[in-house]
Amino acid sequence: NAGVTQTPKFRILKIGQSMTLQCTQDMNHNYMYWYRQDPGMGLKLIYYSVGAGITDKGEVPNGYNVSRSTTEDFPLRLELAAPSQTSVYFCASSSGQGRDYGYTFGSGTRLTVV
C-alpha cells in the first residue's frame, strides 16, 4: 500500500530552470493538495484539486502551475525557478473535504534553487 508517492526526493535547480514535481496516489482519493514547508512558517497551501480536470489556487500559488489529468496524479510545475522557491514540497490527498477526512501526505521533495 504505497499511499502518496513523491518524486524526486531531492533536487537542486539553477535560477531560471524549470522542473516538475511528481505526485501520485493509489487510494482513489478525489482531493489532492500541494503544500510547501519553510522553517518557522508551517505548511502553506499552493494549489489543490477536487477531482480530475479541476484545480484551484491556494494561499501561495505564484510561480507554480498544476494539472490533474487523472485521479492518481497531481504534478506541480515550476517554470522559472527562483531562490524564494527553495523549500520542502509536500503532496497530500484526502477522500473528502472537511472534518472526518484526514490528509495523507507524501514524504516530500526537498528543492534548492541556486
Partner: protein, 111 residues
C-alpha cells in the same frame, strides 16, 4: 488570510516530562481541530483531533484540551519519550474546507 498561531516554535524536555504546545485560531469552518506529527524526512501524519463539543480528548499519552471561549487548544504529551521527538502542527479548516496549519513546534525529548 485565516491563521492558526502556534507556540512555542521549539521545545526541549527530559524523558518523562509533559511538553505542552499551544494554538490559537481566528475562525473555524468545521469546528474540528487536528494535530499532525512529522518525523524528520517524512510527511506529516494525523495524530489526534478534537471537536469543540468536548473540552478534552485523550488518545494514549496524547491529550488535546480545548477552550472555545478563548479560541485556543493545546496538545499535551504525557510521560514523553525520545521517540516522540518530532515536529507537531496544529490545524484548522478554512471556509473552503482546506487545512491551514500552525507554524509548527519542533519537540526534542532528551533521554
Amino acid at each position: 488570510q485565516q491563521q492558526v498561531k502556534q507556540s512555542p516554535q521549539s521545545l526541549i524536555v527530559q524523558k518523562g516530562g509533559i511538553p505542552i504546545i499551544n494554538c490559537a485560531y481566528e475562525n473555524t469552518a468545521f469546528d474540528y481541530f487536528p494535530w499532525y506529527q512529522q518525523f524528520p524526512g517524512k510527511g506529516p501524519a494525523l495524530l489526534i483531533a478534537i471537536r469543540p463539543d468536548v473540552s478534552e480528548k485523550k488518545e494514549g499519552r496524547f491529550t488535546i484540551s480545548f477552550n472555545k471561549s478563548a479560541k485556543q487548544f493545546s496538545l499535551h504529551i504525557m510521560d514523553s519519550q525520545p521517540g516522540d521527538s518530532a515536529t507537531y502542527f496544529c490545524a484548522d479548516y478554512n471556509q473552503g474546507g482546506k487545512l491551514i496549519f500552525g507554524q509548527g513546534t519542533e519537540l526534542s525529548v532528551k533521554p
